[in-house]
């Protein structure tokens, strides 16, 4: 075997290994991006970040648990970039798991210009989040308020009968953000 041939052979080997490793690096770059949908899916399944469930009114069971009462508290926050007033109509309700309830929040645009806002819901404690289902909510879509406009924003929800028995109090909180301009 001549030295030159073995050198060229080695060079080809090196190039092949390098390309393979570059492919691994590229795959890890892709994995970094894949973490985003993965994170969403995991949160959706487990309710880890306090994400609430969404339910179709028609698919709900008709029976409810009359013997059990849990407290649902309502909290409202407004991001500092949004000049709105925002508050729940009632600050807490006693509810039976399995029964559908209505309530609403009040939002008012303090400024002299129309603004689009978006509310992000969260339920605490985390373990209870996926048992809190909304059939109707202003948080499903962006809300636009004209200058100085005030509006009632309805929420219709049901607490699932599967709610773990140790949970006595649930807190539903909304944070209103200014919707991204081009989003």
């Amino acid at each position: 075997m001549s030295g030159d041939a073995s050198n060229t052979g080695r060079r080809t080997d090196n190039r092949r290994s390098a390309l393979r490793l570059a492919a691994v690096a590229l795959a890890m770059f892709g994995f970094g991006w894949a973490l985003i949908p993965l994170y969403d899916v995991i949160c959706e399944i487990t309710g880890l970040d306090g994400r609430t469930g969404v339910a179709q009114a028609a698919s709900l069971p008709t029976q409810f648990d009359a013997d059990r009462t849990v407290t649902v508290q309502f909290v409202a926050n407004v991001n500092s970039a949004l000049s709105w007033d925002f508050a729940p109509a009632v600050i807490s309700m006693q509810v039976h798991p399995g029964k559908l309830y209505d309530t609403h929040y009040l939002a008012r645009n303090r400024t002299a210009a129309a603004i689009v806002g978006r509310a992000v819901p969260n339920v605490a404690p985390n373990v209870a989040a996926r048992y809190f289902n909304k059939t109707e909510c202003f948080c499903f879509s962006e809300q636009s308020l004209a200058a100085g406009e005030q509006r009632e924003m309805p929420v219709r929800f049901v607490v699932s009968r599967d709610l773990p028995p140790e949970v006595k109090v649930l807190t539903l909180s909304y944070t209103f953000y200014r919707a991204p301009e081009n989003g």
Binding site: G3, A25, M28, G32, L35, D49
Partner: protein, 536 residues
């Protein structure tokens, strides 16, 4: 291949390359692993002093309560830039420099496997850091949201975000190319007889580090790209208003961030595993267990990331999982510390500067490991989170940890690199001053953190004044002591007592069979590696 043809080939080769090209362009065009190693190390040393100067500014501001010399905005820029420069500009390039110099001469290869890419991966760095450093002079100043770049804060700064993101991209590309080169060199270029389990531990730890780099750096590149599009192109990855989640950034960042700490420390384990046997004049105790321990640390590093974010509101099962996996890392790390101590047991030890730095590494890194264990206890972390206790912890593992190992390795191989013995007396001065001052600098920060002083603040309550003053004094002393190192290196490059080939009486390994300094092209004819020379 007969020895005759090997000899001929050697000659033919020498006709083409007599040595380095004359002049400055040698350094720009060089594809020689020794030149590139030198460039990396000098660049890292420069960055060490730039990052160090920022640290001096930080400690000067914290010398007493109140705002004296750094306005809060500038203070935050200093802390952010200090970290970015030290992590990506000093420690990581320094280790790549070591890899470039040492890997070929330790495995008996003529050069790195991909010399041209090697040139690229170095020369990207000065551009990256110029771009990053420039941000001090643009409107809005340098990045100031911490090196962890958490949104939403990081998205509220000025244009510096774009500069930082592109700089991180370049650094990432540089280290990925460096890592690919290391892996290909180690896997394809070993001399005959240099089997995987005969490789010196420095080679093993770098091989594993390179895999960590390839797996972790691209994830960081992805995360910072998302920051960029969130800030400038209207996406909402981390923007709650658009349906994103800022906590998600922390998950992605620390998925990179925890392996990153091992990227900085595994080569340190390797260097210390070379030095302790040399000066204990005994073979390394538990060679194979060292290899397996390194590999398990690398694996575990990918499943512990959320210990940096216990307070974000994780469910109990998550806290427990990350707490226990984190504590599990103490097992392979403990194996290593045990092996180092067992290597020294009944050894005929001498205490030259490299050994002193290696010993200090073992003790002080272990202290950093212990405070890490304390931080790993999830319920306790709620108290320590974002306090100076965390600052003390990671500075212990990075300064008397990684940086001391870099000094140890530099003193150990400096005679080989330059051909001259360094000034041992000055080396000892450098060691003792550094070791005393680094403890005065960082140990009090444990107390500050336990007492509740938050990190990343330019001003603090008066009850923290005493320990901060002591810490600052230690900081200034540590900073000044490092000038000794520069002088020692300068002196050894200029001249001095000629180093022998073996340099150290107890040294084993291929690099010591070469002359000091080694020829510009070494091991054009692969050496034969025997068990006796490999395991020492």
């Amino acid at each position: 291949m007969s020895s005759h043809t090997a000899h001929d080939e050697h000659h033919a080769h020498d006709d083409h390359h007599h040595g380095p090209e004359p002049g400055l362009m040698r350094w720009v065009y060089t594809t020689n692993h020794k030149d590139i190693g030198t460039l990396y190390m000098l660049f890292a040393l420069l960055m060490f002093f730039v990052g160090g100067a920022l640290a001096m500014g930080i400690r000067a501001e914290l010398f007493q309560p109140g705002i004296q010399i750094l306005e809060p905005e500038l203070f935050n820029q200093f802390t952010t830039m200090h970290a970015l420069i030290m992590v990506f500009g000093a420690v990581m390039p320094a280790w790549v420099g070591f890899a470039n110099w040492q890997i070929p001469i330790m495995i008996g290869a003529p050069d790195m496997a991909l010399p041209r890419m090697n040139n690229w991966s170095f020369w990207i760095l000065p551009f990256a850091f110029t771009m990053l450093g420039m941000t001090f002079f643009i409107p809005g100043g340098a990045p100031a949201a911490g090196w962890t770049m958490y949104p939403p804060l990081v998205l509220q700064g000025g244009w510096n975000l774009a500069f930082m993101v592109f700089a991180v991209h370049l650094m990432g590309m540089s280290s990925i190319m460096g890592a690919i080169n290391v892996i290909v060199t180690i896997l394809n270029m070993r001399a005959p007889g240099m089997t995987l389990l005969r490789m010196p531990l420095f080679i093993w730890t770098w091989l594993i580090t390179a895999f960590l780099l390839i797996a972790a750096m691209p994830v960081l590149a992805g995360a910072v790209t998302m920051l960029l599009t969130d800030r400038f192109f209207g996406t909402s990855f981390f923007n709650a208003a658009g349906g994103g989640d800022p906590v998600m950034f922390q998950h992605v960042f620390w998925f990179f961030g925890h392996p990153e700490v091992y990227i900085m420390i595994l080569p340190a384990f390797g260097v210390v595993s070379q030095i302790i046997p040399t000066f204990a004049r005994k073979p390394l105790f538990g060679y194979e267990s060292m290899v397996y321990a390194t590999a398990s640390i690398a694996f575990l590093s990918f499943i512990v990331w959320a210990h940096h974010m216990f307070t974000v509101g994780m469910p109990l099962t998550g806290e427990l999982f990350f707490m226990f996996t984190t504590m599990l890392i103490a097992v392979p790390t403990g194996v290593k510390v045990f092996n180092w101590v067992a290597t020294m047991w009944r050894g005929a030890m001498t205490f030259e500067t490299p050994m002193l730095f290696a010993l200090a590494f073992v003790i002080l890194f272990t202290i950093g490991g212990f405070s890490g264990l304390m931080l790993a206890i999830a319920p306790v972390d709620f108290q320590y989170h974002d306090t100076y206790f965390v600052v003390a912890h990671f500075h212990y593992v990075l300064v008397p940890g990684a940086v001391f190992a870099l000094f140890a390795g530099a003193y150990y191989w400096l005679p080989k690199w330059t051909g001259h013995m360094y000034d041992e007396k000055l080396g000892q001065w450098h060691f003792w001053l550094s070791t005393i001052s680094v403890n005065v600098l960082f140990f009090p920060q444990h107390f500050l953190g336990l007492a509740g002083m938050p990190r990343r603040i330019p001003d603090y309550a008066v009850q923290f004044a005493d320990w901060n003053r002591i810490s600052s004094l230690g900081g200034f002393a540590f900073g000044l002591s490092q000038l000794i190192f520069v002088y020692v290196v300068y002196k050894a490059i200029k001249g001095g007592e000629k180093a022998t080939d073996r340099v150290w009486e107890g040294a084993h390994g291929l690099e010591w069979t070469l002359s000091s300094p080694p020829p510009y092209h070494s091991f054009n004819t692969p050496p034969k590696v025997t068990e006796a020379e490999a395991h020492s």
